[in-house]
């Protein structure tokens, strides 16, 4: 306001933006009429010709004036840049996702869950997964459960949020891969719906419990029943740039901007409505690089006197375990 002072100065800029917006809608409409409504191509082209000629002539008429007002143009470009970067960066990072079949690890997860010797990490352990199919999961999630510190839980949940093309869908699907042990939940949410995962997930738990579809197989049921609904731990993955990435220059720039923007944005935990719960954040580099050639030579290996190399390790069942697994 202070910048423009008079309403007449703003009019040109205003008109320009509106014309662009209309042009864009026309473009999208072109796609809509042709593909969704399946109108005849000639008819669609004719309509588009009419609209475009009107709008483009306006565009030209206004474009001249807008060159006098650089600040607003910069503002719009900034907005555009954010949207563009955000969208493209997601596509790029998705390239680095490694999916493996969940079914291969179902037994291992079940065994881990039943292994009472390992301290319990959570009753309900929830991972958010981007895998479209229930039978897949990110390699890095399995690694998180089993390869780093073992995370034992009563039930392992893999939650996927799917944004539909409709605005207000709110549906969920449950897929029990291993009864009461390894469960996948898909939320189908419309694009105008806020993904309050914690709320949604608690509701699912509630319904499953009410319908007696979930059974607790623990010996100490009396104590644990009370925290059945509330002992939920979410594990979120934060992607970080690793040094070893080999990206095209354009992708690199986009990702740099993306991570910079992320600093300002809400973190995933708050964004998904998880801030009341126990949330563990794990940092995973974007690209797990192969170990580089390390010229590290062993110079010495000393031991207390009188000892020898330990026996090969044995696990509780008496099977030999390969060292270094």
């Amino acid at each position: 306001m202070l910048y423009f002072k008079k309403s007449s100065a703003m009019e040109a800029v205003y008109g320009f933006f509106i014309v662009v917006a209309m042009l864009m809608t026309s473009t999208l409409m072109f796609g809509y009429l042709k593909y969704v409504r399946r109108w005849h191509m000639a008819l669609v082209l004719l309509l588009m010709a009419v609209f475009f000629s009107l709008e483009i002539s306006n565009f030209i008429a206004n474009a001249v004036k807008i060159l006098h007002q650089p600040f607003l143009l910069i503002f719009v470009f900034a907005l555009l840049a954010v949207m563009f970067i955000w969208y493209r960066a997601r596509k790029i990072t998705n390239r680095f996702l490694d999916f493996i079949p969940l079914t291969n690890h179902a037994k291992a997860l079940t065994d881990l869950s039943n292994d009472k010797e390992i301290p319990k990490f959570a009753t309900h352990l929830v991972y958010l997964t981007k895998a479209d199919r229930a039978t897949s999961v990110e390699k890095q999630i399995i690694a998180s459960i089993m390869a780093k510190k073992l995370k034992r839980a009563e039930i392992y949940w893999f939650v996927h949020v799917n944004y539909t093309d409709e605005p207000y869908t709110m549906e969920y699907r449950v897929n029990e891969l291993v009864n009461d042990k390894v469960i996948r939940v898909d939320f189908d949410l419309g694009f105008r719906v806020q993904p309050r995962i914690n709320l949604l997930f608690k509701r699912v738990l509630q319904e499953l419990a009410e319908n007696q579809e979930l059974v607790f197989s623990s010996k100490y049921e009396s104590i644990q029943k009370s925290d059945f609904h509330t002992d939920i731990t979410y594990v979120l993955t934060e992607r970080v740039m690793s040094v070893e990435n080999e990206l095209s220059l354009k992708d690199d720039v986009i990702l740099d901007a993306y991570f910079a923007l992320k600093q300002i944005a809400l973190n995933d935990r708050d964004a998904f409505g998880l801030d009341e719960t126990d949330t563990v954040i794990e940092y995973v580099p974007l690209l797990i690089s192969e170990p580089a050639h390390l010229p590290l030579k062993r110079k010495a290996m000393l031991r207390p006197a009188g000892t020898s190399l330990p026996e090969k390790a044995m696990d509780r069942d008496g099977h030999m375990e390969q060292r270094g697994e």
């Binding site: 306001m1 202070l2 423009f4 002072k5 008079k6 309403s7 007449s8 703003m10 009019e11 040109a12 800029v13 205003y14 008109g15 933006f17 509106i18 662009v20 917006a21 209309m22 042009l23 864009m24 809608t25 026309s26 473009t27 999208l28 409409m29 796609g31 809509y32 593909y35 309509l47 009107l54 002539s57 306006n58 008429a61 206004n62 001249v64 004036k65 607003l72 503002f75 719009v76 907005l79 555009l80 949207m83 955000w86 969208y87 997601r90 944004y163 093309d165 409709e166 605005p167 207000y168 694009f191 105008r192 806020q194 993904p195 992320k262 300002i264 944005a265 809400l266 995933d268 964004a271």
Partner: protein, 351 residues
């Protein structure tokens, strides 16, 4: 939040609601369109008649045909707007996200510009009131000060949600459009020749024969601002409500534009100067009331635009076009949500 199929029945109440929410932007255009067209030019029949003709035909081709008829059919479960449309068609082309984000950013930019334009155009009318004509004129500090105060209040009230005053929007716009119609009709009655502008020949003449006529299209186009907002807010009111109220709205708008034109031809003299033909057609005794109504209508329009911007950002977030930012849900009117941080950005930008 969840409002499924909004193909609401048409009732008197629903029509009123539609009036209040949808037509704010497009309805306040008479405040600045004609002034923008004539500004700096000598008044002549060619200019005025041509201008009216252009407005009539632009409103018809663009707004009535393209939007009210055609685009409103492209609904995504009753919802409209550039992102809803994108969601419908994105599977057919990866590149379609580019027009989507272009459209969205320009709409957001409009959302920032629209409040200052409409409110200042409304307030500048005070310059015509004889008592104020020394202290108020477009561009001077007092005017700007008033406008900023109004804008600040508007954004401040975003925090409380708009349910409280929302029910008043419909009646305010009803009064507004009726006023437009009456003022315009009075002028046309005095100079009925202006009705011949409905003939597109005059538009053609302006564009081809008037020096610099083509460039005036930019100003003419301002009359359609708000068509996008119409599409965006469609989900709140339903198709039928919008179509029926449009009949009334368009008549009121056209009458007023022609009234302004009639006045310009007959009484304005060779140059317009800083006057606004919208206010010039009001009798002096009515001017203060007129400014009041105009300001109220402008505020209603801004409110609709602000809600529209918030919905746009929310959609962008979900569709992965925007980082997740804190969203607050004060009250909701039929699915429109209000957000404090965008509000403060817009208010800072507007100021």
């Amino acid at each position: 939040m969840g409002n499924p199929h909004k193909y609401s029945k048409v009732t008197a109440a629903s029509l009123l609601v539609a009036l209040g929410i949808i037509y704010g932007d497009i309805g306040t255009s008479p405040l600045y369109v004609f002034k923008a067209i004539v500004h700096g030019h000598l008044i002549s029949e060619q200019l005025i008649y041509g201008g009216i003709s252009c407005i009539v035909w632009t409103l018809t081709l663009q707004t009535t045909f393209k939007y009210i008829y055609l685009t409103l059919q492209a609904d995504n479960r009753g919802e409209g707007g550039v992102f809803s449309l994108y969601a419908l068609v994105r599977r057919y082309g990866k590149w379609l996200y580019i027009p989507a984000i272009l459209g969205a950013t320009t709409l957001l930019a409009d959302g920032v510009i629209q409040p200052p334009i409409s409110i200042s155009s409304a307030v500048e009318g005070l310059a015509g009131v004889r008592a104020f004509s020394d202290s108020i004129s477009p561009g001077n500090n007092l005017t700007i000060g008033i406008v900023i105060v109004i804008i600040a209040l508007l954004f401040f009230f975003q925090r409380f949600g708009t349910k409280v005053v929302g029910f008043a929007f419909g009646p305010i716009m009803l009064v507004w459009f009726s006023m437009l119609f009456i003022l315009g009709a009075v002028q046309i009655a005095d100079h009925p020749e202006v009705l011949k502008c409905l003939n597109p020949y005059y538009a053609y003449d302006l564009l081809t024969n008037y020096p610099g006529g083509f460039w005036l299209l930019g100003a003419v186009f301002l009359c359609t601002t708000g068509a996008e907002a119409l599409y965006n807010d469609m989900g709140h009111c339903g198709l039928q409500n919008i179509r029926r109220t449009w009949v009334f709205v368009k008549i009121a708008l056209l009458t007023n534009y022609m009234g302004q034109g009639a006045w310009l031809i007959a009484s304005a003299g060779p140059e317009l100067g800083e006057r606004n033909p919208f206010y010039a057609i009001m009798p002096q005794w009515f001017l203060l009331i007129g400014v009041g109504i105009a300001t109220a209508a402008a505020v209603v329009a801004c409110q609709a635009v602000i809600s529209g911007s918030f919905t746009l950002i929310n959609e962008a977030i979900t569709l992965n076009f925007w980082p997740r930012v804190k969203v607050k849900f004060p009250t909701e009117i039929r699915g429109s949500t209000s957000r404090a941080s965008t509000g403060s950005c817009s208010s800072v930008a507007s100021a």
